[in-house]
Symmetry: C2
Subunit: 439 residues, 2 copies
Amino acid sequence: MSKVLTQKQLKVGVIGVGVVGSSVIATLEKNRDIITARAGVEIIIKKACVRDISKPRACPIPLTDDIDEIINDDEIDVVVELMGGRELPYHIAKATLSKGKAFVTANKAMLAYHRYELAKLARTPIGFEASVCGGIPIINALKVGLSANEILAIRGILNGTSNYILTKMTQDGWDFTQALKKAQELGYAEADPSLDINGLDAAHKLSILASIAYGIDVRPEDMLIEGIEHIAPEDIEFAKEFGYCIKLLGIAKKHDSSIELRVHPTMIDEEKLLADVDGVMNAVSVVGDCAGESVYYGAGAGGNATASSVISDLVAIARLYSQNHRQDQANPMLGFITEQSYAIIPKQDITSRYYLRILADDKHGVLEKIAATLSHNKISISTFLQKPSTLDSSSSQNCAKVLLATHTTSEFAIQNAITGLQSLEVVRQKPVIIRIEDE
Amino acid sequence: MSKVLTQKQLKVGVIGVGVVGSSVIATLEKNRDIITARAGVEIIIKKACVRDISKPRACPIPLTDDIDEIINDDEIDVVVELMGGRELPYHIAKATLSKGKAFVTANKAMLAYHRYELAKLARTPIGFEASVCGGIPIINALKVGLSANEILAIRGILNGTSNYILTKMTQDGWDFTQALKKAQELGYAEADPSLDINGLDAAHKLSILASIAYGIDVRPEDMLIEGIEHIAPEDIEFAKEFGYCIKLLGIAKKHDSSIELRVHPTMIDEEKLLADVDGVMNAVSVVGDCAGESVYYGAGAGGNATASSVISDLVAIARLYSQNHRQDQANPMLGFITEQSYAIIPKQDITSRYYLRILADDKHGVLEKIAATLSHNKISISTFLQKPSTLDSSSSQNCAKVLLATHTTSEFAIQNAITGLQSLEVVRQKPVIIRIEDE
């Protein structure tokens, strides 16, 4: 039977309150209003399960150390697994599904091995957006957005730690050991960083993406996997010299009736968008036969980014469960089920930095008049450039081009200044403005 | 009442068979098997409506020139509107919804004005992924993938024609008129290109994105809009000199309780990912309070890319309608409802170009032996570099680093070559390989 929420709440149990679990709890609280408006119902964490319940913590949710207390709670609609590991989470998933509850997980290692068993069992929704590339909704893009396509190729920077190490080696000339040490100091790499640098973490994620692209139950051991441990500075130099950049890529390609899968350090053209993905960021390029190439870029890890994806799964489940006789609510047209109200900032109150191009007579005193007009409108100049004078073909007179960038000011001020400048006898035509966006 | 498909088919009527409509028809045919496996039911175009039915065309679908014949057909589950215009498509949408049918459109101009009226009317799904950025599933990313976030900012290259013009001006030093002429020759710009270059097309799209991000009913006239007509080569030069790149951006930003909206040519840091989006490509950067920045890149226009998004909406509707008592089928866990079978290419059959780093004795004849080993394995060298000899600390002997790139060969061949190289007396350690991906 399809589930319909009887109350205006989706009740959630969370298993595992580490970095991600804490972010899920905090974000659901912080963004409660907007999440409720999008989900159509309130998403409530009823209870969370932790390993050590005696550990003091500032958690606003009732805690337990008994997993069954979450799974067997008839009020709980969705179980969110954020504990890590492989076999225990799989058993939790099965138990959750057998109770008719929905299941959400960020656990790529478990999914790399057990996703098809879960898909076969499921009569309720399973969400795992957070299992690949943290805050990038790549699962959803592949599953829904690109569903018309034969996926010809996937090429992804799927592991932030290894990408950080390769970035440091490339940009700062560090060697592997030095870069790994720094990654550990910054908390990007675990004390045992082997899964990150030997390619296995990326392989877990690639196996999940390959299932959505091709419907295949592939496991890491079926793939060609190499890590980045052996990359030396001279490899990076060679790559640079020939216009390449080295990235740890997960690659899946479709041939006629077979699929090629591999994870390894890869020399790619430095002009490609993936070559510009630096530090701990992730990105996935997908080539579809119909959509062409599309690229998805964002934070691949971290509590908040991962929580963003966990909660997006909860919102999708809430929308599906809250649709009663209105099928549009499973995917509300404009994303909100209840109304929002924001004011639109009046055009003249918008602020920006501005670039101005002013065509003026090439005689002394011109600059002073321009500066006075700007100053009169409380606009200050950050950068100034005067181009050599050229002959204005219409007037046969020499004219000067004054190019300048301002500090932040308002549309009101800049439009007044333009009017002021235009009325100067020495200014030949309406100045051109271009807004500068630099934050 | 919720709709459940009684047959294993979703029946579609298409209004408008131009470039996009033809691609929708062709892609549904070409990718029928995989789309059916993902949708759970077959998506059938029952009838299409064209303006001039007497025009000879190779369309495999029954045609009519009477819109009502589509809307009033009780067998049709979804109406797809691809005709363009504003008020007539709006009336078609209303009539479609009032008949209890789902509605799919690529019409940004109509949605820029009428999306809230449609959202209020709808009791059935409305899909419009194709209305913003063609083949990039940005609607879905914002509506589903980022639903946990307060959206702090959206910055998008939303119009391919204007981006092509600015790219040509930046990369080739062309002036605006020259670049526009070329865009028209290539079919990127319409005979009347005004909507593309004056910012209004981008404003239509931004108004749609702003609704999903903020729930606001904003129209183009509420926005600050400027086009690219006034950009001159000296503006591009100034930008370059100060590390900027000029792009036509649609920008939405959240302030405390108000939203700022604008479309204009913008100077952005040339290090930003958006600065690398060239030609007719589109990209959208979204900053969420939880996910951080994510960027979505792809083809913004063209029949196939737009068809990809239109069909993705049809697949989503089919999944929703085909779920009967299994709510997981509205969003099948791994994207497929029926099974797929592909072989996995054995690791040793994978082909690639390879980079090799070989540490060898620095004496004559070494290179010959390396070359012979590669040649014996039918591997040919494309690039070769020998590094100056250095002292090997372990052996206190001089050693040479040989770096080379091969032409395409197989894993089988390269692994055999590695074994062969390693067994050479002059080779000091196992050679390091890095695969080269350049297509």
